[in-house]
Amino acid sequence: MRKIAVSRMEELFAAIAAGQSLYLPVDTKAGAKFEQWESGKQLSSALNTVRSAKDFFFPQTENLMDFRMEGKKIEIIDTRRESEDFVLFGVRACDVRSFTVLDRVFLAEPVDTYYKNRREHGLIMSMSCTRPAETCFCGTFGIDAAEPEGDVVCHMTADTLYLDAKTEKGSALLESLSALTEACGGEDETAVERHKELSHERLSGLPLAELSADRFGADKTDAFFNDPAWKTLSEACLGCGTCTFVCPTCQCYDIQDFDTGHGVKRFRCWDSCMYSDFTKMSAGQPRLTQLERFRQRFMHKLVYYPTNNDGLFSCVGCGRCLSKCPIQMNIVKVMKQLGGKQND
């Protein structure tokens, strides 16, 4: 473990950014946002970013390839640019876990090489949470916000930033920063432990700390699919894509061709199961009503994904949907409503 004074963060960022692009949460008018670091940019004090960190591996739109047309000939042009090294600093435990959720989709055969390249070239410097929000419930899914995963795990106390490498990649980075950072002693270990304790204490006092996902999980489709509660839960849903677009684990996408007039650009873009044209095929849509689309989203997070991924939930409890849904419907309300009946 290495450490550096919080007052010298700027130097640390400069040193990291010297070797690769560095992204970190900064404050904007509309809340925190991951931005490329440049001299003078301050780390946000907000708990989390409005948009999740998934953008860095699975961006909202991605130019997969281009086609150029000359007369009646078509030429395919490689537009790939996902092989640049970068560091993501200040990723919270929930978002780090979301990468695992995405990995299981995109790195499974057939491997998505765009995603894979980005993952390989990205280094995660996670940050433990000391001020979890009232909307946080990562604990529900077994995530410890005091001890995130990641290549380098960071803990920030009032005056010191502790850097703990967890992977070879992380060690190599810390190695390169050794001139700037100091080695840690026993006192430091104690400080970090105290820091974690404070986190745990706060996490246990959160309003949603008691929320349990135990009733959900693999192979529970029949238990929930026809529950009448879906009707009341979904009746106010506007069918917008806010929840899916701020969600760190939503991974559905669409492929769109854009005719530029002199060629075609092929994009991959996020899709939302809340949209009325989601998975529309020539024969029509498989889910005709908003109820079915709404159900799909939550069943996927809580049942279908765990079924296919060894019980891993594809919700990480980041709470973004709780604060952003225009009609204040969210996974917590769904879990309480459905789970409540199941176990009363």
Partner: protein
């Protein structure tokens, strides 16, 4: 994607002079969908059209693009060509590479590049064209003629003779118009009344003609073949079907001081009157502005003397609604006001008169019983000065005069001068002219006779000033050929006033959605090839409402308009324009926004049951376009937020494809 053929026209050197037509044809060959591309000298020629037809058959073309002159010129031609080859005529698009390319650009490279882009846009559009079939609408077999002058009468008679019912709407109490006020007609000098009144009688008695005199058109709705017209029958306070036209009332009416408009105010009539002896319909009319009974309730003389009991002081304006298949505008002309020409002292002296007033002065039925007497003192004038082009060809003073030549003045002035010299050889007659324009059969001969046989003094030059001095009118004029300024003491000055369209024409044009030029003359659909049709389908033009005309010309146009109307009324159905709006009912919200912007009332809303995508059925309110009424402007397509409303032939996708092709 269609199989498209591209045909690039040279138009002789009109296009080929500035556009490399071979390069255009070669470039367009590579566009998506194009399977055939060629160029030719004159695409619109028989040989060119045959070539298109052969290519359609040989290459199984599903759409064709003609790079040629403006679609306003030959779109119809090429659509017919396509149809003859079995291709839907609406699978034809024109790239305008003449008017909008070769004629406005000088550089070959620039012109060629632009022509290729215009061609690409047309190809992009035709790729999205769909075959269109025009709808059909029935034809109401009745015509309306607005205006009962010689133009309207002749049109009505010709249509009626062909067996179709016709209604004439005339604002005055009688038909006859301006011609009824004339004395003799040039160049034959036959009496106007002698040739007009039999036609008036024919019109009045024809079984197929109804005359709505003292009436106005107040509203026109509908479209070709199906006009709904509202006609206001102004209250004439005399029952038209009861009045025998005996005229007793017009002799007994105590109100004698009403200016007689038929004689242009040069004498008086009564408050109840029949404009002239040969009026059709020959019924009396009460002038509500002067009738004591109507104004103050005291009098009632006419009612007492009328043995037929035709007087009805309680009459009200009536509105009748009638359906027509065709409308002929024959609203005619008026001389312009001379008030603003102070240099000619028209307002200062009674002895300065207009030519139309001169007609009345020489007319046997006029205020002087045909004797040429000065209006001021009733004496016989010995020196008469005619001034030509008063207010005509007047560019500088648009608020005073008209820029155009009024066309008829040269001839009627020659007639007036000649008749004066014939009847009163002791009179000196001067005609001041800028040019004497006599193109017409026997016209120049007529003018020469005035000079050579009747000794009329034709002087090249204009009158600068007329000043009343005692009983005389001092005329100061230039004689340009003699290089002199002339000073003539005249007894009478006659002004050849410019003519202008009747005031009623402008509001009528709005009702008919027919277009007008800046002078308020109705515009013809084509100045050479469609001179009696207005650009609005089903509306035809007859007489001076379209431009200054003499009687023979008016009568020929009247006949031509009638022929067009008959041609229309002979059809049982009309084929419409298929480029009309249509609503995608599944996308329509039923919000009524489109209904509000439609100028034709073509959109209505209907409740219909639909099978929804979620397999339920639902009663929905959706827009429905009457394709026969829709004219295809597209206002609704933009008003429609969801894009449910689209315009065939100019679909959103097609226009966007053109934009894309131009911008790429």
């Amino acid at each position: 994607m269609q199989r498209i053929g591209v045909f690039v026209c040279h138009c002789g050197t009109n296009i080929a002079g500035t556009v490399d037509v071979k390069a255009v044809a070669a470039a367009l060959k590579n566009e998506p969908g194009v399977v055939f591309s060629t160029d030719y000298q004159y695409m619109c020629s028989q040989a060119g059209q045959d070539m298109i037809k052969e290519a359609i058959a040989e290459h199984h073309l599903g759409g064709i693009v003609i790079c040629s002159c403006s679609p306003r010129m030959h779109e119809a031609t090429f659509r017919k060509t396509a149809a003859a080859a079995g291709l839907n005529p609406y699978m034809v698009e024109i790239a305008n590479i003449r008017e909008q390319c070769s004629w406005v650009h000088k550089d070959m490279a620039v012109g060629t590049e632009k022509a290729i882009i215009l061609g690409k846009a047309a190809v992009a559009k035709v790729n999205l064209n769909t075959p269109l079939t025009p709808g059909q609408s029935p034809v109401t077999k009745r015509a309306l003629v607005i205006g009962g002058g010689i133009a309207g009468i002749q049109t009505a008679l010709d249509i009626a003779e062909a067996g179709f019912p016709v209604d004439i709407v005339e604002t005055k109490p009688t038909i006859g118009g301006k011609m009824a006020q004339l004395d003799k007609t040039f160049p034959t000098l036959d009496c106007a009344a002698c040739i007009l009144t039999p036609k008036m009688v024919d019109a009045g008695q024809h079984e197929n003609i109804r005359i709505f005199s003292y009436s106005e058109v107040t509203a026109v709705k509908g479209f070709v073949g199906n006009f709904d017209v509202t006609i206001k029958r102004k209250a004439r306070y005399v029952k038209e079907d009861v009045c025998t036209g005996c005229g007793l009332c017009t002799e007994k009416c105590p109100q004698k001081k009403v200016p007689n408009e038929f004689n242009l105010g040069m004498d008086n009539r009564r408050a109840i009157y029949i404009p002239f002896a040969q009026a059709v319909p020959k019924v009396a009319t009460i002038d509500p502005d002067y009738c004591m009974m109507l104004k103050s309730g005291k009098c009632g003389v006419c009612s007492k003397v009328c043995t037929a009991g035709a007087i009805d002081y309680k009459a009200k304006d009536e509105y009748i609604e009638e359906k027509y298949g065709a409308i002929v505008v024959a609203t005619g002309f008026n001389p312009i006001s001379m008030e603003k020409f102070d240099e000619y002292a028209y307002s200062q002296s009674k002895d300065v008169i207009t030519s139309l007033e001169f007609e009345r002065l020489t007319n046997a039925a006029g205020p002087t019983q045909g004797k040429l007497l000065r209006p001021s003192d009733g004496e016989h004038p010995h020196t008469i000065v005619f001034v030509q082009c008063v207010g005509s060809r007047c560019e500088a003073c648009s608020e005073k005069g008209k820029e155009y030549c009024s066309k008829i003045c040269c001839m009627y002035t020659a007639k007036h001068a000649m008749l004066t010299r014939d009847k009163y050889p002791d009179t000196d007659v001067y005609v001041f002219y800028i040019d004497v324009r006599t193109p017409g059969k026997n016209f120049d001969e007529f003018y020469r006779r005035a000079v050579e046989e009747y000794g009329v003094h034709y002087i090249k030059g204009m009158v600068g000033k007329v000043s009343p001095e005692g009983k005389k009118l001092h005329v100061q004029a230039s004689d340009l050929l003699a290089g002199k300024q002339l000073h003539i003491d005249a007894d009478l000055v006659v002004l050849a006033a410019a003519i202008e369209p009747d005031r009623s024409a402008r509001p009528l044009a709005t009702m008919l959605t027919a277009s007008m030029d800046t002078n308020d003359f109705f515009t013809e659909a084509h100045p050479k090839l469609r001179p009696v049709e207005s650009p609005t389908a089903g509306v035809f033009l007859s007489g001076a409402c379209q431009g200054p005309k003499d009687i023979p010309e008016t009568v020929s146009q009247a006949g031509a308009a009638a022929a067009k109307v008959i041609g229309l009324l002979c059809k049982d159905h009309l084929t419409g324009n298929p480029c009309v709006a249509h609503a995608d009912e599944m996308m329509c919200n039923g919000c009524s926004t489109c209904e509000r912007v439609c100028p034709y009332g073509a959109i209505t809303y209907v409740e219909k049951e639909f099978r929804m995508p979620d397999r339920t059925t639902k009663l929905r309110r959706v827009a429905s376009v009457n394709e026969a009424v829709c004219q295809g402007c597209g206002a609704c397509t933009v008003a429609c937020m969801s894009g449910a409303m689209d315009l065939r032939g100019f679909m959103n996708r097609q226009i966007q494809a053109e934009v894309d092709a131009i911008c790429k």
